[in-house]
């Protein structure tokens, strides 16, 4: 994965602004009229050439959503969202669906290249070396790129298929593997689960689908890259990952958006299903546009991510590095249904300027001897607010359940806030639950110590912050850990002093 460490360098040179991914692509788009109604949903479904059952499913979700109210229990403050003032479908004109790279609009490819994701190069590489070579090369990463509402390109589909792994846009999966999609879609996050999940279920446009069959270890990292480009549009992607008995897969998502004055809505749903003995590792490097120093613009990120350890001894591991978005509302969770199943949540959330993050996890222990680990590192700077909100629930049948939670907050400056809101509910007396929390500041003496040794103030902050986050960063796939470290340093640029 040679591209990723260079990603930031490449992109840094592209723009001069504080947010290095803020450019937009001028591209011919097909955009649905603003507003949300049954007609909008029918239009999306028709554009995607979906079967009748999925349209019905969407309409059910929409009916549920209309009965629901936007949740306001998070420690988040923002102007009301006008759901009728958003485009729910925006697609680059030439791409009616997934197709080979030659058909992709060159402007689009250029965008992804600017972002450090040279799809074409990788595809060529695969073509030249042949699929076997590609599979031996564990370093390679298959990428699904989602531009506004549609997936524009998925690489390495063929070599993955040889291993039996399905990796494709979910819209393609609906057409090609309808039974698989139908039996798993909504099985972890039902249509009416919550306000934003219901909205997503009604209008989701694209996202990734991964299926790893029994006993297969996915031969390469899978990655999806999300990009919001169109003005006043929302992105509602839906990702579904299924690992059958004994299967293993590691998946990474990355996201950016242009710098715009208005807020843009992102309401995704991710569902993971791990059957007996399966392992799913899901990593996120989230870098949506965070808004400017005064809090203008930026992405509203309301995301529902949930994995179910359905089979015994299965394991789901969430790792997230969250540096972007004006508002983050996100609680990647694990339902530990299978006996002996394991849930993990490793999180770094950075907020600067006027960013607000309310993020954490839910570990729902249902099976016996289930265990979970939560390590959350919150870093607040500027006038931002950073809240960890986590639930550990142990059901009556979860004999011997164990949880270990560590929540550490680091404050930079005098005007930011860090909050920790743990909820612990145990209905089984044999459960062992541990919770540790610390709050610290980057001390003046630490900065001076580093500077006396020759480090600039910003390098010193980067070093201290990366040290603070080490326990989480080491969980990322190695190639991405490098990117994440640089991203942390960049996000906090200028936040000290």
């Amino acid at each position: 994965m040679p591209a990723v460490p260079q990603t930031l360098d490449t992109v840094q040179s592209v723009t001069q602004s504080g947010y290095k991914w803020g450019f937009s692509t001028d591209i011919d788009m097909e955009i649905a009229p603003k507003g949300l109604s049954e007609d909008t949903i029918r239009l999306i479904s028709a554009r995607k050439e979906e079967p009748e059952w999925l349209l019905e499913w969407r309409l059910q979700a929409f009916a549920a959503w209309r009965q629901m109210a936007e949740p306001h229990w998070g420690k988040l403050h923002y102007a009301p969202i006008d759901y009728q003032d958003i485009h729910y479908y925006a697609a680059p004109k030439r791409s009616a669906g997934p197709h080979n790279l030659d058909e992709v609009d060159p402007a689009l490819l250029a965008t992804y290249e600017k972002l450090g994701i040279p799809l074409k190069e990788r595809a060529i590489l695969a073509g030249v070396q042949g699929t076997e070579a590609a599979e031996e090369e564990r370093q390679q990463v298959a990428v699904d790129a989602v531009f506004d509402s549609v997936s524009v390109a998925t690489t390495f589909r063929e070599s993955l298929a040889k291993a039996g792994v399905i990796f494709c846009p979910i819209s393609a999966a609906v057409r090609e593997y309808p039974e698989l999609v139908r039996s798993y879609l909504g099985s972890v996050v039902p249509q009416g689960d919550n306000f934003f999940a219901a909205l997503n279920s009604a209008v989701f446009t694209d996202g990734s689908f991964v299926f790893v069959p029994k006993g297969v270890r996915c031969p390469m990292e899978l990655s999806t890259y999300f990009r919001i480009n169109a003005r006043n549009s929302g992105q509602f992607e839906r990702t579904l990952i299924i690992a059958e008995d004994g299967a293993t897969v590691s998946y990474l998502e990355g996201c950016t958006a242009p710098q715009r004055d208005e807020n843009q809505l992102h309401a995704a749903v991710v569902e993971l299903v791990a059957l007996e003995g399966a392992f799913i590792k899901y990593s996120t490097v989230q870098n949506w546009y965070p808004g400017d120093a005064e809090g203008r613009g930026g992405i509203y990120n309301f995301v529902t991510k949930r994995g179910e350890c359905r089979g015994a001894r299965s394991r789901i591991s969430w790792t997230q590095v969250e540096t972007g978005s004006a508002i983050t509302w996100k609680y990647p969770s694990c339902i530990l249904r299978g006996d002996g199943s394991v849930g993990e949540f490793y999180s770094v959330a950075v907020t600067t300027n006027r960013q607000q993050a309310d993020t954490g996890t839910k570990m729902i222990h249902l099976g016996a001897n289930t265990s979970s680990t939560i390590i959350s590192k919150g870093i607040s700077a500027g006038h931002s607010n950073n809240t960890y909100r986590g639930l550990v629930r142990v059901g009556p049948r979860a004999r011997g359940a164990r949880n270990h939670t560590e929540c550490d907050s680091l404050l930079i400056g005098e005007h930011c806030g860090a909050h920790t809101v743990p909820y612990i509910e145990s209905r089984n007396p044999t459960a062992r639950l541990e919770h540790e929390a610390t709050t610290s500041k980057i001390a003046e003496d630490q900065l001076f110590y580093c500077r006396q040794r020759g480090l600039s103030e910003e390098d010193a902050v980067g070093l201290i912050v990366n040290g603070f986050c080490k326990d989480v960063l080491k969980e990322l796939p190695m190639e991405f850990a490098v990117e994440a470290q640089k991203l942390l340093a960049l996000s906090l640029e200028g936040s000290v002093g």
């Binding site: 580093c450 500077r451 040794r453 480090l455 070093l463 040290g467 603070f468």
Partner: protein, 249 residues
């Protein structure tokens, strides 16, 4: 050559340095002694550029560079190293990573090529060996969980790797047992040479048995009140600072 001329400084509104005059020629090691609260640590912080130490008058130059006008990291690049009295812990930051980052930051500022991990490790291992320290020291997090003695030794290790032109040791001997004291002294003595100078701040004469200074200065109430050869330190050991203080009053 370090030249301090009539240096005055204030901390939290209180005058601490009241006109320090001091010259440390290149290649010499000078000791700075004095009672508690006389301004020894303040002088080291003012020279290295710590925030909150307000310079109210005078100058300090090193090899012609006006130290007081540049940020701490540029002073470090100019060759100034401060061994802290209370070394700071950096959780999660590996010692080797910290040192390489520091060394490369300094090299970059000087326009020298950066060292890759392999070459750095070779250099660092050589330094630990020279100082009779274990490589283990490089793998641990910066000063986290270190004993007082280990922290001081880590300062000397950093000094050995960064190879400064001017080292200020702020009571590096305090809290050290005799073995640690010897290691620390050897670390300083190993650097002695025609291009290296040091200002050794200490409360006790004991350290000066191992690091024999070219000159000894006594700081009382923010002023140098006496200067002399190594024998001055021994004299103070018997008479104490009372006489010097009386002289200053």
């Amino acid at each position: 050559m370090l030249v301090i001329d009539d240096l005055r400084a204030r901390v939290e509104g209180k005058d601490i340095l009241n006109g320090v005059d001091l010259v440390v020629p290149t290649g010499e090691v000078h000791a700075l002694m004095g009672p508690n609260g006389s301004g020894k640590s303040t002088l080291s912080y003012v020279l290295s550029g710590r925030e909150g130490y307000e310079v109210t008058g005078g100058t300090a130059t090193f090899d012609g560079v006006d130290l007081l006008s540049i940020p701490p990291e540029e002073r470090a690049a100019a060759g100034l190293f401060l061994a802290f009295q209370y070394p700071v812990e950096l959780p999660g930051v590996g010692n080797a990573n910290f040192l390489r980052t520091a060394l490369n930051a300094v090299r970059r500022q000087r326009g020298e090529p950066e060292l890759d991990a392999v070459r750095f490790l070779k250099l660092a291992r050589a330094a630990t060996k020279r100082l009779s320290m274990s490589d283990e020291m490089l793998k641990r997090n910066v000063n986290v969980g270190f004993s007082g003695g280990e922290k001081k030794r880590n300062e000397v290790l950093q000094m050995g790797i960064l190879q400064p032109k001017l080292a200020i040791l702020d009571e590096t001997d305090s809290g050290l047992d005799i073995d640690a004291l010897k290691i620390v002294s050897e670390g300083v003595n190993a650097l002695r040479g025609p291009d290296f100078s040091a200002l050794v701040i200490t409360h006790y004469q004991r350290l000066l048995d191992y690091i024999v200074p070219d000159r000894v200065h006594v700081l009382v109430r923010g002023r140098i009140v006496r200067s002399g050869g190594p024998e001055l330190a021994r004299e103070l050991e018997t008479t104490g600072y009372a006489a010097a203080e009386a002289e200053a009053a």
